[in-house]
Symmetry: C2
Subunit: 181 residues, 2 copies
């Protein structure tokens, strides 16, 4: 099974591709997309196109994105939502199924504790993937953590697609209850 | 000059196309995109593709989107950001220039007062475009209002592209100052 993990952000979008064979997880590629575009639309275009190229090249079984609830204020949440929207689109438009996981599920899966620190999670990403602890930006290791979480969840519950769908439905229900804007 | 106005939202995305000839503004088409997709990625895909088809068919000089600061909480802002991101992308990816206007600029342009009520704005949209007051959903008239605002701003300040760019830069600066997530 091959999974593309994405950690979306307007200034930096992390990505990481993990392949699972038997009990082994191998990182295929990882990195951070940074845009030089001045306009918001241009920046979103760059993020979207680079993710599209990555996904269509890697042909993953699943694309995993962190579900975000922690934005500190509406303004930063709105901006983060833009980046997340074009990231989800890069998978959805080309028919690749998307899975979303809350941050504490990612931490639980990777470091065994939903409240694990960023450092602990990073340490475990390196350990689980057999990487040396050099040369990786935090956004890239966050993306690999999401990919690892996705692989573990699929392994544990091969028929858990229903629960992922439920998550999306719950999101949309919350939205439907709120007055727009 | 032809402008596509967009009022993005996950449950309903309004659009309206306005053509200006001399002093006259004519509405060419308007409507609301609603998605039946269950997943967030699927819903974003539908919004993006329908807007892409509209924009590439209408070949506007500009695409105008409301700048949003009013989201009530981070969660609804995040969800709204997703829709807004794929809307901006539908213009940016195909090379159509995007303009963003704060809600009070739109109200000021259409109804002469930044604090105008929704009803006042709707009334003025119908008046300015010579429409009868029937059969229009609020999201569609909001989108037409953004298009009207864009046409008026372009008319008043033919060389105001710099100020629009400034708006985007200001957004990105705010973002850069915030710790991601």
């Amino acid at each position: 099974m091959r999974v593309v993990g994405i950690d979306p952000g307007l200034t930096a979008t992390g990505y990481g591709v993990v392949e699972q064979t038997g009990n082994r997880m191998t990182p295929l590629t990882w990195g951070v997309i940074r845009s030089n575009e001045e306009t918001l639309a241009g920046r979103l275009g760059e993020i979207h196109l680079k993710l599209r190229d990555l996904i269509t090249e890697q042909k993953p079984d699943l694309v995993a994105v962190e579900e975000i609830f922690l934005a500190k204020n509406p303004r930063s949440a709105l901006l983060l939502g833009h980046a997340r929207g074009v990231a989800l689109l890069a998978a959805g438009l080309y028919g690749y199924p998307v899975r979303e996981y809350p941050a504490n599920s990612v931490k639980q899966a990777v470091a065994g504790r939903g409240g694990a620190s960023k450092k602990q999670v990073e340490y475990m990403v390196f350990r689980l993937l057999g990487l040396s602890e050099q040369k990786m930006l935090p956004d890239a290791s966050d993306a690999l953590a999401v990919a690892i979480c996705c692989i573990m969840k699929q392994g544990l519950q091969p028929a858990n697609r229903g629960s992922v769908r439920k998550t999306n439905e719950a999101l949309l229900k919350v939205l439907a209850m709120q007055v727009k804007k």
